[in-house]
Structure formats: structure tokens, C-alpha cells
């Protein structure tokens, strides 16, 4: 075919697709010229205007007007007025307001000018607003590789366990993200352990984002605005964890009127009320969730499960107030609580309380400041209510955060972020308290250290040419482990064993016990091959000064939070990834292929049979080694059309090497061995078929290779006791995991026309979701353990431990008005 004809046809086709996509998205994208063409200016010019509601013509207080891909923009005042300065040129302008349809302009700025915008009411559900101020080709244009963003609509469409929409569960459908299994807290990103993820809720650290041992996450979906997972290049303002950052932004109250939304489910219900106070200058949000899941356990066949209990609650309170158009403060309080008891054998309780204050200030048109103070406490308790060892053990962490971020945009080629942050950790002592008069347990207390982690950072996203952009970041972090604390001294040249302790050095409050610091460079590079294709490279180093010690199959709420100290060095990870990103059919299809490599120093593993509870000499039981992870991630996402969703596949390997100086400090002869969450293949297919209006059919297909475990290689007898002899560490694998979930969401559209017409115009909107989790009732193994068979045979046999071995139907009614 003639190349000219080919190009012409392609252009016509693209234009056609563009028109279709524009109509599908109902998102107006107009071309606008600002300024007088007869008086073309150079340098910076001023753009001003008013954003109003199309229906009532009233100014929209709090509407945002932003230049896509930059920090340039403004927030509208009480009358909906805005103004900002910008260099002349061509940009994409996004105008957003909660409850209104976004408006996007192809903006050509040639001089000072006025642009008034009228936004239409959102005719579909509120959550269907795309939160991100990014274009449809965001995956191509974003500088960093390894960034995943999902909006609430995408999460809500996923079939969910017991109908509870879950951010963390939805993350696990993304490439490079996996979990140990159902019932395991946390998630693993690119070969990182669960404690290597920085989880932020409105900038505040969360140590445990799990309810009911990981079946649900602590984020109330109705109170969540959007979240971003950085699994590759973390911008320099994020620090303290080596693997990933999950940055969750919670909603602010509505500025126009009081709104109510919620959901009634089989095991939990939630309610969110938000709205304006004081004419919209102040906004509030109150959100709560509570479970009543004990009845589900009561229906189990197993008597122990029948006598078990599991419940949770969480509360989000948020007040936002604007001072003029340039200052905004937020004050929020978050609390979550969990209780889990297995029969009369043991149980857990864990709680999080966070008070969070932030102040956003637009100092100049191109300099924005964000200041944040956080006070948080995470408490956990393990209890054993019966027998001679009846006792409860408390531990946890108190922490304080202070953060100052500046966003500076000196030109349209630079987006600079700089500032500093401080986290102070006050480890709560581990306290064992006997329960009841028959308990023989000795009351005990193990003190924990304090620590100050300080980071200074600067990050510049530089657009070098139209095709080439680079993100250069540098973070300098320093950590001080502080007293009061007693540090054991071991005889020179001897192994760190309790019997080799020769002295104890007592540090008083504030004394520096150990000091660590280092630079963390962060580099991201994007080369745009064409409008639909880009190549990205990320190189970065991350450091982590806090460890979660857990010597069980999965992370549990009572895992010990341990700061880096004299003997436990900080984790240092060097991360590299390269990705190829390509979109098709006018961004209808997003695809990416990323390859990553990571090596970790000072990775901790455990000696065999270590008991970490109430252990004041952890250094004798932990061994430091190396970790490495490498893999390939494939992601195909369909954004438009009656069917949307994504398919992700990860091929990966995560390994550990422990080769200490002494025999019990060597694992698997010093060879590399797979980490216990290593999964070679991880596949996920998430899809939604839009039926009519708000009705949809959704499914979720998950497959992954079984994770490694220690298996029995032979048995022997000591007297009459049959002793299983276990393999080297993680030599075996449990069976592969496979699950399918389905759900239907029914909106008003399924009602008879007469009823629909009757409801037309009413503010109330309800949807009913009916779903089945694990529709194949597959007994997926969480783990395989070895015990004697029920017929009293003596040889231990492998038994599958299935946490959710049946199909779990659910029904949830969601409403808003």
C-alpha cells in the first residue's frame, strides 16, 4: 500500500477511534486558545477564570484547575474563581470537581487570558470519576516504571471476599504483587517481604493494614479516594521501606451538601457521612465499618471453628478547612480494632490509632508547601486463655511523624519536590501477664528501644526533550537507635550465644546506641518512542531501619517490630527495572512488559526453632544474609468498551542466602534458597462486563505456583516417638493456587421501566452485588503441614491447610444519597 495512503487511513482511523472514545468517556476535550492572538506574549502569563456548575451557575468552591503532568494549577475560592501563572505553550488542562464530570482542554497559551468553565453534574455514580489528573496515556507518559494506580471504580468492580471491597486484595491482582495466601496479612512486592512495604494512609504510616488476619484490609473503600503503588522507582520523598510504597489518599468531605453512602453485607457493614459546614469552607467526613462475622464461624462443622470469634471495626474522622484560596488544613483521626480467638486455645487483638494533621499552602503560583504531623500507636496482644501457660503478651509501637514537603515548578520542564521528614519510633515493651490463678507463667517485661529516622530529599522530574524525561532524586536518611536499653556484649571472637554474654551496657534515655545513615539515589528515565510507546528505566537504592520479626508461616498481628540496633543492621536494597510500555487503539489497550532485579543486604532470617516472643537477645537467634529477586511482569489492560479489566502475569524468583561463620548460622549450606513467599508464576485476570447502566458482571481468575516449604524426607524413632526429619529450608512446594470469583452488580437499570421512571430524578441510588468467592470450591493450600493421620498411624503425612476451602457466596447492598 502506498505509504501516504497508509498514513492517511491510519490518521482517519485514529480520529474515528478518538471520537468514539471521547463519546464513550463522556469527557469533553476541547481545544482552547488563551490570550489575544494579536498580542502574543513570551515568558509567563496569567490565566484566570471561574468554575461553575452548569446546572445552577454557582461557583464551585474547591474545584481544581491543573495543567496535566505538572504541579501548576489552582484551587477555586468560594465563588469558584481561580488564577495561576504559566509559561506560554501548549498544555492539557484538567478541571475537576467532586460530583461533576471532569473537563479536559487542549490548551494553547499565548498570553494573559480568561477561561471560564461550567461543569456538568456527574450522571453516573460518584465513584466513577477518574481521580487521577493524568491522561489516558498515563502509563506511557509517566516517567517512572513500576507504578500502578487504580481508582475506586476499578476496585469496586472486583468480586470481593464476603462482598467487602478491598484495596489490598485488588493490589494482589497487579503484576509483581503477591501474597502468601488467604489469611495472611500484607502483600509481597517484587520479592519484598510484607514488612518492606511502606503503607501510608493520608501520609501516615500504617503498621498493619489488615483486618481479620488479612481477609480484609483496613481501608474503608467508601472513604478512600485513590491509591498509588510504587513498586519500582519510588520518588525520593518516600523512604523507610525498601520494597514498595502504597500511598492511599482518603476522601475529604463534600463541599456542597451532606451525602450519605454505605453498604450492608453479610459479615460487615459500613457508613460514610460527609458534607459542608460553614458554607463549605469547612468539610467533614465520618466513616465507620463494623463486622458481625461470628455467625459465619458458628456454622462451621469443626467445633473449634464454631467456638472461635473474629471481628473488626474501623473509624475515619476527617475535618478539612480552607483559609482563602491558598491554604487548607486537614485534621483526621483513624482507629481500627480487631479481635480474633481460635476456640479456647489462643487469640489476637490488635489496634491502630492515628491522629493526623496536615497543612497545604500555595506560597506562590509555583511553590506549594505541605506540612504534616502524625501521632500513631499500634498495639497488639497475643493471648492464651487456658492451661498452666495462660497468659497474654502485649507489644507494639508508638510513633510520631513530622514532614515538610515543597513542590516547586520553576518552569514547565521541572517539577521539583524537596523537603525533610522525621519518624520517631517508641517501641512498646513486650509484657507477659499471667491469666487466672492456675497460670504458671512468670510476669515478664522485655524493653524495646527508641529510634529517630530523619530523611532529607530532593527530586526533580525534568522534561529534557519532548521524548526524553528523567526523574532525578536523592534522599539522605539517617537513623539513631536510642535508649533506654540494655545491650548485651559477647566475648570477643565468639559466636553470639546467650552463654557467651560477658557484659551488659546500659544506655539511658536519649543515649545513642547505634547510628546509621546513607544516600539513596533514585533515578527514573523515560524515552517516548512514539505517542503510544515508551521505554523506561529505573535505578534506585532504598534503606530500611525497622524490621518485622515473624517466624511463622505468615505474618501475624503480633509480629515483633524491631528497630535496627547494634547487631541488626539496616536493610539496603538496590533496585533496577526496565520496562516497555505500549498502548493500542487510542489507549483502549494498555500493555507493558517490565523486567526487574533487586539485591538486598542485611536481610534477616531465623535460626531453626527460634522463639521470638519475650526474647531480649534476638541477635542470638537472627542471622543476616543476602536477598535477591528478579522477574518479568506482563500487564495487559483494557480501558474502554463493554468489557474492561486487566490481565497480569509475573514470572519471578526470590531467593535468600545465609552463610554465617558458625554452623548454626548457615542455612542450606550457604546456597541460595527460595524465600517462603516465592512464586514462580503468578497470573491474574480481572474483568468487568458492563451490562446496562450501573449493572455489571465481574470475574477474577487467579493462579500461582505453590510457595516453598520444608518437607519431610524421612522419619525415625526416639523411643516410641516418631520424629519427622525435615528437608533443608524451602526445598518443597505446596500445590499450586487457583481460584475464580464471580459477582453481579445490579443497579436501578434492572427494574421495570415504570419503577425506573418513578425513581428517576431521585437522589437515592442503590446497587445490589451478589457474588461467589472461590466458585470452584477449590481447597487451595495455604500451607502443607505434617501430622499423624486421624487413624492413629505414626508416620506424619502431608496435610493441606486450607483457609477458605469452600465457595463463599455474598450479597451486599450499597447505597448513597
Amino acid at each position: 500500500m502506498d505509504p501516504f495512503l497508509q498514513r492517511t487511513l491510519r490518521s482517519v482511523l485514529m480520529l474515528f477511534l478518538l471520537l468514539i472514545s471521547v463519546s464513550l468517556w463522556a469527557q469533553n476535550k476541547e481545544r482552547v486558545v488563551v490570550g489575544d492572538p494579536s498580542k502574543t506574549s513570551t515568558g509567563r502569563v496569567r490565566i484566570q477564570g471561574q468554575v461553575t456548575g452548569k446546572e445552577d451557575g454557582k461557583g464551585l468552591f474547591g474545584a481544581t484547575v491543573a495543567i496535566r503532568g505538572t504541579n501548576i494549577g489552582a484551587v477555586c475560592d468560594e465563588k469558584g474563581n481561580y488564577e495561576f501563572t504559566i509559561a506560554t505553550g501548549e498544555f492539557e488542562l484538567v478541571v475537576q470537581y467532586v460530583g461533576k464530570v471532569n473537563k479536559v482542554y487542549d490548551l494553547r497559551v499565548i498570553g494573559n487570558g480568561v477561561l471560564n468553565v461550567a461543569l456538568e453534574d456527574q450522571v453516573v455514580t460518584l465513584d466513577q470519576i477518574l481521580i487521577e489528573a493524568e491522561g489516558e496515556d498515563k502509563n506511557i507518559q509517566r516517567i517512572s516504571a513500576g507504578v500502578n494506580r487504580l481508582n475506586i471504580k476499578e476496585i469496586e468492580s472486583l468480586p470481593a471476599f464476603m462482598g467487602e471491597v478491598d484495596i489490598v486484595k485488588s493490589l494482589q491482582s497487579l503484576p509483581g504483587v503477591s501474597t502468601v495466601g488467604e489469611g495472611a496479612s500484607g502483600f509481597n512486592v517484587r520479592g519484598g517481604r510484607t514488612d518492606q512495604n511502606l503503607i501510608l494512609q493520608d501520609g501516615a504510616i500504617l503498621f498493619n493494614a489488615s483486618h481479620v488476619l488479612g481477609f480484609f484490609s483496613t481501608f474503608n473503600p467508601d472513604a478512600t479516594e485513590a491509591f498509588t503503588l510504587f513498586k519500582g522507582n519510588m520518588p525520593a520523598q518516600y523512604g523507610g521501606r525498601i520494597s514498595s510504597v502504597l500511598d492511599v489518599r482518603m476522601k475529604e468531605g463534600n463541599s456542597e451538601k451532606v451525602k450519605v453512602r454505605g453498604g450492608l453485607g453479610l459479615v460487615a457493614s459500613r457508613l460514610v457521612v460527609d458534607g459542608p459546614i460553614n458554607g463549605g469552607k469547612t468539610r467533614f467526613l465520618v466513616a465507620g465499618r463494623s463486622s458481625y462475622s461470628d455467625w459465619v464461624l458458628g456454622r462451621a462443622r469443626n467445633i473449634d471453628v464454631q467456638n472461635s470469634a473474629a471481628r473488626f471495626h474501623d473509624v475515619n474522622l476527617k475535618l478539612s478547612h480552607r483559609f482563602g484560596t491558598k491554604n487548607k488544613v486537614n485534621l483526621s483521626y483513624y482507629r481500627s480494632g480487631d479481635f480474633f480467638r481460635f476456640a479456647q486455645d489462643f487469640g489476637f487483638e490488635w489496634d491502630t490509632d492515628i491522629l493526623n494533621f496536615s497543612w497545604n499552602s500555595s506560597i506562590t503560583d509555583n511553590l506549594i508547601s505541605t506540612t504534616r504531623f502524625v501521632s500513631g500507636v499500634y498495639k497488639s496482644k497475643l493471648f492464651d486463655p487456658s492451661g498452666i501457660d495462660a497468659a497474654e503478651i502485649d507489644n507494639g509501637m508508638k510513633y510520631y511523624q513530622a514532614q515538610q514537603n515543597f513542590f516547586y515548578t520553576p518552569s514547565d520542564r521541572h517539577n521539583i519536590t524537596f523537603g525533610a521528614d522525621l519518624v520517631r519510633y517508641d517501641g512498646r515493651p513486650e509484657i507477659a501477664t499471667p491469666i487466672g490463678p492456675d497460670s504458671g507463667i512468670l510476669a515478664e517485661r522485655v524493653e524495646k528501644e527508641q529510634g529517630n529516622e530523619i530523611g532529607f530529599f530532593v527530586n526533580d522530574d525534568i522534561t529534557i526533550t519532548k521524548d526524553l524525561a528523567i526523574s532525578l532524586g536523592l534522599r539522605y536518611s539517617t537513623f539513631q537507635n536510642r535508649g533506654p536499653y540494655d545491650v548485651f556484649q559477647y566475648a570477643d571472637g565468639t559466636q553470639r550465644l546467650v552463654e557467651n554474654i560477658v557484659d551488659t551496657v546500659s544506655y539511658q534515655k536519649g543515649d545513642v546506641i547505634a547510628n546509621y545513615s546513607g544516600f539513596e539515589p533514585r533515578i527514573g528515565l523515560r524515552y517516548t518512542i512514539d505517542d503510544r510507546t515508551s521505554l523506561k528505566l529505573s535505578l534506585n537504592r532504598t534503606r530500611q531501619y525497622i524490621h518485622t520479626l515473624s517466624n511463622s508461616t505468615a505474618a501475624t498481628p503480633t509480629d515483633i517490630l524491631q528497630l535496627s540496633n547494634t547487631y541488626l543492621k539496616p536493610l539496603i536494597s538496590n533496585n533496577a527495572s526496565i520496562g516497555y510500555f505500549k498502548n493500542f487503539s487510542d489507549n483502549k489497550w494498555e500493555t507493558s512488559l517490565e523486567v526487574y532485579l533487586r539485591d538486598i543486604d542485611n536481610l534477616l532470617d531465623y535460626k531453626d526453632f527460634v522463639d521470638l516472643l519475650l526474647n531480649n537477645h534476638l541477635e542470638t537467634d537472627l542471622i543476616a544474609g543476602k536477598g535477591r529477586a528478579y522477574g518479568m511482569e506482563l500487564y495487559i489492560k483494557k480501558n474502554k468498551g463493554p468489557m474492561t479489566g486487566w490481565l497480569s502475569y509475573t514470572l519471578s524468583r526470590t531467593e535468600v542466602q545465609i552463610e554465617g561463620e558458625n554452623p548454626d548460622e548457615v542455612i542450606n549450606n550457604g546456597e541460595w534458597y527460595p524465600a517462603n513467599f516465592d512464586r514462580t508464576h503468578n497470573f491474574s485476570w480481572v474483568s468487568t462486563v458492563q451490562l446496562r447502566g450501573t449493572s455489571s458482571f465481574n470475574w477474577n481468575v487467579v493462579y500461582s505456583t505453590g510457595r516453598p516449604i520444608n518437607g519431610i524426607v524421612t522419619n525415625y524413632r526416639i523411643g516410641s516417638t516418631v520424629v519427622p526429619h525435615f528437608s533443608e529450608r524451602n526445598e518443597f512446594r505446596i500445590p499450586d493456587y487457583f481460584r475464580i470469583d464471580l459477582s453481579f452488580t445490579f443497579g436501578r437499570d434492572i427494574l421495570k421501566k415504570e419503577l425506573r421512571d418513578k425513581l428517576e430524578g431521585r437522589n437515592y441510588l442503590g446497587t445490589l452485588t451478589i457474588g461467589i468467592y472461590n466458585i470452584l470450591s477449590r481447597k487451595n493450600a495455604f500451607s502443607v503441614f505434617f501430622k499423624r493421620p486421624e487413624d492413629l498411624g505414626l508416620i506424619p503425612r502431608p496435610h493441606r491447610l486450607t483457609v477458605l476451602g469452600a465457595a463463599f457466596p455474598n450479597i451486599t447492598y450499597n447505597f448513597r444519597f
Binding site: 498452666i388 517466624n551 468489557m643 524426607v713 524421612t714 525415625y716 523411643g719 496435610h799
Partner: protein, 373 residues
């Protein structure tokens, strides 16, 4: 219409993929590359006449009984350099006569074993004292069980509970208890006319109970003087209760090393499989082989020992037991028709079970009468 067709295709593909994966589900057997052949030495020296035994075997691949090692040279050495050899009393079982070395609290002992030209040496073990006084009691109960197929069954059982009182509370002490039962089984009676010189065997069965449940106390954690109401055995009621039936609890004073060993075994044997389990691992013993590359299992411990007994008789069990060796009229006629005094004919012709005549064939049976019977 087009939309509906698309939906149908999506649903169809989903169902097909589901079926494809379902077919390869339900795999539980692990790719178990079993191995064996390692030497296992389990030995003890006590401060009494009981329990001075060393068992030597070789681990065999899964589901095969261990190979008992005969002809090994086994000796114990005390802190004064005195040595005494253990004498082989049964295949793979060696016993100390206590002629030269007699275990004493505070003494330090080491075991040396020679098998197939290699020498295996244990670590030095100090014998710790007995600290508690034990007491046993029983309760009759009905235990409900559910079989794998979901059928509910109930069994009459005897539950044995232990109360222990610590006489002193040293800063560091460790105790292990083992449970055993002993009872008599008598060979069946045969008609005097055909077997005039036959005298039924009287056998003593000594079974270790709750062998997979290792009862330990770590005195650095538990500081109660009274350790009460610990269930130490659950025994189904059967014919063994028709005569004297002893339950014996044996208290062993451990040192720190042997406590660590047993607590590691305990963590492997009692695990029920929960997401909170510590990952299992191989348990290192305290023997070193002269061949450094050789792996050897087992433990030699020096433990003071004390036994407390509970006697139960058929008066305690309000149940009637059928004698499995009782014969009916037809069998009786077959018995008296065999050649005169030909006991082996009864077994060869499968008229009676061999164990009914020779109770010494029963597992853990001995003809030697324990002193307490």
C-alpha cells in the same frame, strides 16, 4: 444483539478455562524425595535401675520400619573416666548393668558408640535432680469422634490427669514427663485332656503412652509450685482393664541442652498445622560421627528419674469385656481333635490366633514380672 453475543463468548471462555484448571486440582502429595540410612542413637542414663537403655537403629525411607542395629559397641564414660559397656538385650537395644558406672545427680556422662567402624560420641551430659512430686488421677469419659467420612462415633475412654508439686524453685530447671501403662495378658486356657502339660503364659505389656505428646516444663518461664490437672493420657477402654492396669508417669530431670532437644521434637510432633506455626526443621542431636560428613540423629541424656503409678482394676470400669480369645462350641471341638499336645497345630490350622496362646508375641510384651506387680 452484538453485545449479548460478546457476553456469551466471554462467559463461555471463562467456563472453559475453569474446567481446564479444575481437572488438575486436588493435588496434595508432595514430590517427596525420601531418603534414609542415617544412624539413630537414642540413649539415657538415669540414677536408678530403670531406663538405662540405648536404642540404635537406622532410619529407612518413609513407611518402612527402622533397621535395628545389632553388634554395636556401646559404652558410657563418667566424669572420672570410668567406663561401662551397655549389653545388648534385644536386637538394637542395649542396657546398662550399672556394675561400674551408676548415674548420680550432678554426674557428667558421655556415650560412645561404635558401628561399622565409625565412632559416634555424644556431648557431655550433666544429670539434674528431680524436683516435683507427681500424682495421677483418672476420669471415665465418652469421647466423640468424627471419621473422615463425617460419621460420628463415640468411645469409652479413661482420661489420666497429673498433678505435680514442685518442692523447690531453682532459677533454672527443666522437667519432662513420659507416660506408660502396664497390664497383664494371660494366654488362653486349653482343655487339659488334650494339653495336660500346657500352662498359660502370663505376659506383662508395657506401652509408652502419648509418645507424640512430649510433656515439658521450662522452669525459667513457669514458676508455679503446683502444676495441676494436666491431661497426660487418653486411653480407650478395652479388655486390658479387666485385670490390674497401671498408669505410670515418669518424671525426668533435664538439663538445658536436653530440654532444648525435646522442645524441638515437641514443636514437630504436636503441631496441628496452623498459619502461626513456626516453620519445621531438622532437629540436630548431640552425637558427632568420626566421619564429619555423616549425619547422625538422636540424643543421649543423663536424667534422674522418678515414677509414680496409678492402679486401676475392673472395679473402676463398670463395663464388661469380651475375651477375644474366647472360643465357641465349634472351635472347642476343633481344638480337642488336634493331635495330642500339638499346640502348633492349633496355630497352623488357624483354629486360634498365635497371640492367644503365646501372649509374648504381642507388641511390648515381656514375661518378666515388673517389681510393682
Amino acid at each position: 444483539m452484538k453485545m449479548r453475543k460478546t457476553h456469551v463468548l466471554y462467559l463461555l471462555s471463562l467456563v472453559l478455562i475453569s474446567m481446564l484448571f479444575t481437572q488438575c486440582a486436588e493435588v496434595i502429595e508432595l514430590n517427596n524425595q525420601t531418603s534414609g540410612g542415617q544412624l539413630v542413637i537414642a540413649g539415657r542414663i538415669t540414677n536408678g535401675t530403670m531406663g538405662n537403655v540405648v536404642n540404635i537403629s537406622r532410619a529407612l525411607p518413609e513407611e518402612q520400619a527402622p533397621e535395628l542395629i545389632s553388634g554395636a559397641l556401646v559404652k558410657v564414660i563418667d566424669q572420672d573416666g570410668l567406663e561401662e559397656a551397655y549389653v545388648e538385650t534385644a536386637p538394637g537395644q542395649y542396657e546398662l548393668c550399672r556394675d561400674v558406672v551408676q548415674g548420680q545427680v550432678g554426674g557428667v556422662y558421655q556415650l560412645e558408640v561404635q558401628v561399622d567402624g565409625k565412632t559416634y560420641t555424644s556431648s557431655l551430659q550433666e544429670m539434674m535432680p528431680i524436683l516435683a512430686e507427681d500424682e495421677l488421677r483418672f476420669e471415665l469419659d465418652i469421647q466423640d469422634n468424627t471419621t473422615g467420612s463425617g460419621t460420628a462415633t463415640s468411645t469409652d475412654v479413661v482420661r489420666i490427669f497429673a498433678n505435680s508439686t514442685l518442692n523447690s524453685l531453682p532459677e533454672e530447671f527443666y522437667i519432662r514427663w513420659t507416660m506408660e501403662e502396664s497390664y497383664t495378658i494371660t494366654g488362653m486356657n486349653l482343655p487339659l485332656r488334650t494339653f495336660p502339660r500346657y500352662s498359660p503364659q502370663v505376659c506383662y505389656i508395657i506401652n509408652e503412652l502419648s509418645a507424640q505428646e512430649i510433656f515439658l516444663v521450662d522452669g525459667t518461664e513457669i514458676r508455679n509450685v503446683n502444676l495441676n490437672n494436666r491431661e497426660v493420657a487418653v486411653r480407650p477402654v478395652d479388655r486390658s482393664f479387666s485385670t490390674k492396669h497401671y498408669f505410670n508417669i515418669i518424671q525426668l530431670g533435664l538439663n538445658r541442652e536436653s530440654h532444648e532437644y525435646w522442645s524441638k521434637l515437641q514443636s514437630l510432633t504436636v503441631r496441628q498445622g496452623s498459619i502461626f506455626d513456626t516453620p519445621p526443621a531438622a532437629v540436630p542431636g548431640n552425637f558427632q560421627s568420626s566421619d564429619p560428613s555423616e549425619q547422625v540423629f538422636g540424643f543421649f541424656e543423663a536424667s534422674s528419674a522418678d515414677t509414680t503409678r496409678l492402679l486401676m482394676t475392673n472395679n473402676d470400669i463398670p463395663l464388661f469385656f469380651l475375651d477375644p480369645c474366647q472360643v465357641d462350641q465349634e472351635t472347642f471341638l476343633r481344638i480337642i481333635r488336634v493331635p495330642f499336645e500339638c499346640i502348633s497345630c492349633l496355630i497352623e490350622r488357624e483354629i486360634v490366633e498365635a497371640e492367644c496362646i503365646y501372649c509374648s508375641l504381642l507388641p511390648n510384651s515381656t514375661l518378666a514380672r515388673p517389681s510393682y506387680f
